[in-house]
């Protein structure tokens, strides 16, 4: 009676050993990673770019033989800009799918899942959220500059070169919106500007007329939009409808298809992160998804590629095993990655620096006036 189970056990052990002995086999299990993105809600336009970028990267990686011979599989989750949804998605990815890595996006959702990531040693990479609070967090890497860099550039440009010094602010009442507004106050003030008033609005609101009317009554020569996604175009249209004629400004967050189409947003002063709409990538994206690519498509393509390179390294170093800790160590040791938008070097604060362009929104495009080079 006793011999049969023990031999079975032995067999199972042997079988287990053989599978672990050849981890690099092409027929091995796919490597699963997560991607927690704004697939619905006011930021759904970013979601199209982010998901498309990650999908294209996964296809390219798999077409080139996968990661150490294993196929890459991305599991997409929707956070709809809601931190609690992001937490549920992250729990599912960690507990059910057992991913060692996930792409993430937006500031509030990313800050909400970071403790889960750190606790479970799962690396998360954010290519979209820009709150300053995203820096210096364990297991969180940002392949995008934090917003203070961009806000600093635009605040100085507006005050010093455009001579707009009395600003009123309309602010999305979330981590990203508030953080960007606070930074704007600080940098605009340092450049000689003054913030006259600030109104906070819900990110998913659709009627901003009361707040805009209040800002209009305060005067000022500049309306700074510290918000993002679909509501930027609604704010711009409703502001013009209310007879607000002063210039509007915002960071690269405002550059979504809705804003490009909005009549009210014409002439908006913006920052832009490097993205070439005529690149081979942008053309391929347009063919595949029937919509123009944007900066964030490149960002999530790059983030997925950075993961692939780090994972390859981690698998090599750890005798075939792929863990979050291994990925983290690989990112720390490689540091500089080649991406579609040039060399990306992770800083000590787990963030990236990039060139920042400033310009005017015109006919659905940004007419760049000036490029501020990233500090080395």
């Amino acid at each position: 009676m006793r011999t049969i189970p023990s031999s079975l056990f032995l067999l199972a052990l042997l079988a287990g050993m053989t599978t672990t002995a050849v981890p690099a086999a092409a027929q091995g299990n796919p490597i699963k990673i997560g991607a927690i993105l704004p697939l619905t809600g006011s930021g759904a336009s970013y979601g199209v770019w982010m998901k498309g970028g990650a999908e294209m990267a996964a296809e390219d990686i798999n077409a080139a033989g996968g990661i150490a011979g294993r196929k890459l599989e991305v599991i997409y989750e929707d956070h709809a800009a809601d931190a609690s949804k992001a937490v549920n998605a992250m729990r599912r990815l960690v507990e059910v799918e057992k991913v060692p890595f996930s792409l993430t996006s937006y500031s509030s959702p990313t800050l909400a899942i970071q403790p889960i990531a750190a606790q479970n040693k799962v690396v998360i990479m954010n290519g979209g959220g820009q709150s300053d609070n995203l820096a210096n967090k364990d297991y969180l890497y940002n392949n995008i500059p934090v917003v203070s860099n961009e806000v600093g550039v635009i605040a100085t440009w507006l005050a010093k070169e455009k001579k707009l010094v009395n600003a009123v602010l309309i602010v999305a009442n979330d981590e990203a919106g508030r953080n960007s507004a606070d930074t704007f106050r600080e940098k605009f003030g340092a450049a000689g500007g003054k913030v006259l008033a600030e109104e906070r609005v819900a990110l998913d609101a659709t009627d901003f007329r009361a707040q805009l009317a209040k800002l209009k009554a305060r005067g000022g020569d500049l309306l700074y939009v510290s918000s993002y996604g679909r509501n930027v175009s609604i704010i711009a249209d409703q502001a013009r409808e209310l007879g607000i004629t002063i210039p509007m400004a915002g960071t690269s967050w405002v550059l979504v298809p809705e804003t490009f189409k909005s009549k009210g947003a014409e002439g908006m002063l913006v920052t832009k992160l490097p993205f070439d709409p005529n690149s081979a990538f942008a053309k391929k994206f347009k063919d595949k998804y029937k919509t123009n690519a944007g900066f964030f498509a490149v960002q999530y393509y790059s983030a997925t590629m950075i993961f692939a390179k780090a994972a390859q390294e981690a698998i090599k170093k750890n005798a075939g095993a792929l863990t979050g800790e291994g990925i983290k160590n690989a990112i720390e040791s490689i540091r500089a990655f080649d991406t579609l938008s040039g060399k990306l070097v992770f800083q000590a604060n787990h963030g990236a620096v990039m060139d920042i362009e400033v310009g005017t929104l015109k006919d659905g495009k940004v007419q760049v006036e000036k490029v501020i080079k990233a500090a080395p």
Binding site: V201, T206, A213, R240, L242, G243
Partner: protein
């Protein structure tokens, strides 16, 4: 002063949508005593009907809107016919009807989210979206249309209730169902009619919202909540009460922003409601609310 006028005008525009929603809900509640929260779903459905008729069937705007109002009226009638009436025949209490209504609201909202995605749909209104300036106040043509629709809706409803035979039957049931039954009024048919009229009068609110800022599947919940607050404030069973309650809420929300930080906007109306319900439970014009009626 300019700011006050602008906020008052914006409040009036938002208020006209609240008014239409509250008139319909108030008529239904005052007559049937069903706490019909699924009215929110009818409101949203009307917007989606109009959107679909314009976008997928390619109908001209005016035809799409009329079609959507008729479809919304039928939807309201179907809810009464298929859900409330069978429940009432089996002797269900009001709380059961309320829970059923809440379930239906959630179901329809989620179905819309699955079919159309949870993002707002905005109808194409062409020249109606153009801005007009009235002294220091800036509005769009659509906003003026909203206000006109609310005024017309109110007057039409008052005239219908006062002068038409069916309207008088509704009033009879509203003031005393037992008495109405004694004189030979068929309660079930009056209820059906009430659902048709109540749904048709609120449908333009959903459609106008879809034309202005867009409608997403869950928008009806907010509106039906505000409508019920407006009706209770105005006095249950009173049509002018519903109008005043709805206008009061909208003006309070918008003028409140003047002095209070705008992130408190939606808290203002419910705060006022709490004070109101404690101080004057019978509302402005209505009968006293019995706890059993809610």
């Amino acid at each position: 002063m300019d700011l006050f006028l602008q906020l008052a005008a914006t409040g009036l525009v938002v208020g006209s949508l609240y008014v239409l929603c509250a008139l319909g809900w108030g008529l239904i509640y005052g007559t049937t005593l069903h706490f019909h929260v699924a009215h929110g779903a009818v409101f949203t459905l009307a917007a989606y009907y109009a959107y679909a008729a314009q976008k997928f069937l390619g109908l001209p705007l005016a035809i799409a809107v009329i079609g959507a109002i008729v479809a919304a009226a039928l939807s309201g009638m179907l809810i009464d016919l298929l859900i409330y009436q069978p429940l009432e025949r089996r002797g269900a209490i009001r709380t059961t009807l309320f829970i059923a209504s809440l379930g239906l609201l959630t179901l329809i909202e989620n179905l819309l989210a699955i079919i159309f995605a949870p993002d707002p749909l905005r109808m194409d209104v062409g020249w109606l979206a153009e801005a007009v300036q009235l002294g220091p106040v800036f509005l769009t043509r659509l906003h003026l249309l909203s206000v006109a629709t609310a005024i017309l809706g109110f007057l039409a409803l008052m005239a219908f209730l006062k002068y038409s035979l069916w309207g008088q039957a509704i009033r009879a049931v509203s003031s005393s169902p037992e008495m109405a039954r004694t004189v030979g009024i068929d309660l079930r048919r009056v209820h059906l009619l009430t659902y048709a009229v109540g749904s048709a009068i609120s449908a333009p609110a959903g459609i106008l919202l879809a034309m202005d800022v867009g409608v997403e599947p869950y928008r009806g919940t907010t509106f039906v909540l505000l409508a019920s607050v407006a009706v209770i404030m105005g006095g249950i069973g009173s049509i002018p009460g519903a109008l005043l309650g709805a206008l009061f809420l909208a003006l309070l929300e918008n003028l409140g922003v003047w002095k209070i930080a705008s992130e408190w906007q939606s808290s203002i109306s419910f705060g006022a409601f709490l004070i109101f319900i404690v101080v004057r439970p019978r509302g402005l014009f209505g009968r006293k609310i019995q706890s059993a009626e809610i």
